[in-house]
Symmetry: C3
Subunit: 144 residues, 3 copies
């Protein structure tokens, strides 16, 4: 079988890195990771508002949005965080919230108690490593 110029052209423009980048968003055309590494109410609100604006701009099916919280940024995902209702509303629109297990381990070691989290938070072992793997799958990292 010969490779036609058309086939070659389509290969040259294919974006295999992004196929299956977000298994729960099969129709996504845009992939964004929002980094949150600070504990600051204004910064938390900014991250949530960026997530919300991006969903509105592309439509929830066309964009995969994942917030990755690590270091002091994990406060957003505490059970009692003041923005809990907005987090839960974004989860219901398909936004994922990952929390760094290394950070939780450190807090537990230092305080004797693991923080109580929003049950929607998805624990990953290393927050930065998780961002790196999302970037390798075609996500763009933005730190608002």
């Amino acid at each position: 079988m010969l490779a036609s110029p058309t086939l070659l052209a389509s290969l040259a423009h294919a974006d295999p890195a992004k196929q299956g980048a977000a298994p729960d968003k099969p129709f996504a055309e845009h992939f964004i990771v929002l980094q949150l590494s600070e504990s600051d109410s204004k910064k938390e609100r900014l991250v949530l508002s960026v997530a919300s604006n991006v969903l509105k701009a592309y439509g929830p099916d066309k964009v995969a949005v994942e917030v990755v919280a690590f270091g002091p940024g994990i406060d957003l995902l505490r059970e009692q965080n003041e923005h809990r209702a907005l987090v839960d509303s974004l989860v219901s629109q398909g936004v994922r919230f990952a929390v760094c297990g290394n950070t939780l381990d450190t807090i537990e070691r230092e305080t004797g108690r693991r923080p109580a989290l929003n049950p929607h938070a998805i624990e990953v072992q290393v927050g930065v490593g998780h961002m790196l793997e999302l970037a390798e799958r075609g996500f763009t990292i933005v730190r608002p």
Copy 2:
């Protein structure tokens, strides 16, 4: 027509994502987005100085530089900003300055008045979405 090994090799090394990444910079080999999301004179100066250093390092034809301002970062693009002369000089060297329309809408809603902007500022609907699309076209996002 057959695909020769040479053609295949060149395809494997082609970087289709970046072809036409910056239509106004046909000879660009490097593509950089500088994010500005803070209102702070030192940070504004840092962003402008990074833009200037990158132009000097590669030459204005070989690098496409776009500053994307959103949230409090839009202050750089106000008509009366203290760095206006430097912004205008970078524009004349081909640097693009995009400003987030969502941010302008919010300010207008809250204050009753849309900010007066540097006429060189290019309004985009969603600043972060614009950065995402530039990244998809092969730009690298840096937040100085």
Copy 3:
């Protein structure tokens, strides 16, 4: 010679951008740049701890980690920095530390004296340009 579908498929999935991305890490599968542009002891510690966590998570052979310091961030690489022992230990595990020559030139011009640096620091002409080139070779930029 014909291009078989199998060959074409493998081309479509090859990741030429990353081949040889880190010549001193021939077995690396992950490539990360950590940006440091602030002079702040907590931020310095965070960058070093992220580097250390990423090494632990993937193993030192499987991940290429480079810290790029520019602007006020170069303080981490001064000869007398308080975290010098940790920097040196990371160097011995294969982490690279690059320092922005433009920043050093500016300091020298303003103070009459070039800062004394950790001898492990690798001077590059433009810190941001260096990050850009690493990104073009397949590295992911993270600013902790």
